[in-house]
């Protein structure tokens, strides 16, 4: 594979993937270990691995209401994300994933890894239900609706009525 960046520079990425909610800890462990293998095999570096536990999903994914979130942050080159995502697709336990580039050009030496940052990969802790309140279901809050929904149409109409010579954005700025 072609290397665009010289080896002393790398890109920083993060990936989140969601595992089947019934995955046992050994599955989680093996998937995490496999990710680390891939990253190191492609001369990347795993910076951080987190298990966010079993959380409620904001919408059903493959008919699951919950999923186990795993977060990885790593350094790598252009092929590492491609290879990781190829594996994400191949692993049945992974129901969804997302990779994001955080930084274009970093010096790997400037990103030291503490052992504890990636310790979860080897020692998976059972904290599945504790993560519950982190993502509460979005409920219909009256206060929210008053603030964000109800006033919206009125505000828009006022703007349209009174400002013929500018668009909404200008109006917004002029009030400041």
């Amino acid at each position: 594979m072609v290397q665009v960046l010289p080896r002393e520079r790398a890109r920083e990425y993060e990936s989140i993937f969601i595992l089947h909610p019934d995955s046992q800890s050994d599955v989680v462990d093996s998937v995490a270990a496999r990710c680390q293998d891939i990253i190191t095999r492609l001369q990347g570096k795993l910076l951080r691995a987190e298990n966010w536990g079993r959380r409620r999903l904001a919408y059903p994914v493959k008919k699951h209401q919950k999923g186990i979130y795993i977060y990885l942050r790593y350094l790598g080159y252009q092929d590492v994300v491609h290879e990781l995502e190829r594996n994400f697709r191949a692993i049945d336990a992974i129901i969804k994933f997302l990779s994001v580039k955080i930084d274009e050009d970093v010096n790997p030496e400037a990103r030291p890894v503490a052992e504890t940052d990636i310790s979860f990969v080897s020692t998976f802790v059972e904290e599945e239900e504790s993560a519950e309140p982190v993502m509460p279901p979005i409920v219909d809050e009256d206060s929210d609706r008053d603030r964000e929904q109800a006033p919206a149409p009125r505000d828009e109409r006022e703007v349209v009525e009174q400002k013929d010579d500018g668009d909404i954005k200008d109006d917004d700025d002029e009030q400041d």
Binding site: A58, G67, F97, V100, E141, Q149, D155, E158, D172
Partner: protein
């Protein structure tokens, strides 16, 4: 004919928040991984609140949009109103 409904009424500006929340508080980052921090900018139908309502500045509204879309992608935030 002092019509109050014509275009020239001196509007008492119905100001909501005129200050961008993220400009006001530099500590307050926009992170798609922390849906709690950006939930305020989603309506109860799950839509992104326009910045003329939320008061976010253009720069932060752009960042917010990206963050919300990422959060939606990985099921941390809803695309549509939860039933």
């Amino acid at each position: 004919m002092n019509g109050t409904t014509t275009g020239k009424k001196p509007r008492k500006p119905s100001r909501r928040r005129r200050v961008c929340k993220f400009c006001a508080d530099k500590e307050f980052g926009i992170d798609y991984k922390d849906p709690q921090s950006i939930r305020y900018f989603l309506s109860d139908r799950g839509k992104i609140v326009p910045r003329r309502i939320s008061g976010a500045c253009a720069k932060h509204q752009r960042q917010l949009c990206v963050a919300i879309k990422r959060a939606r992608n990985i099921a941390l935030m809803p695309f549509t109103a939860p039933k």
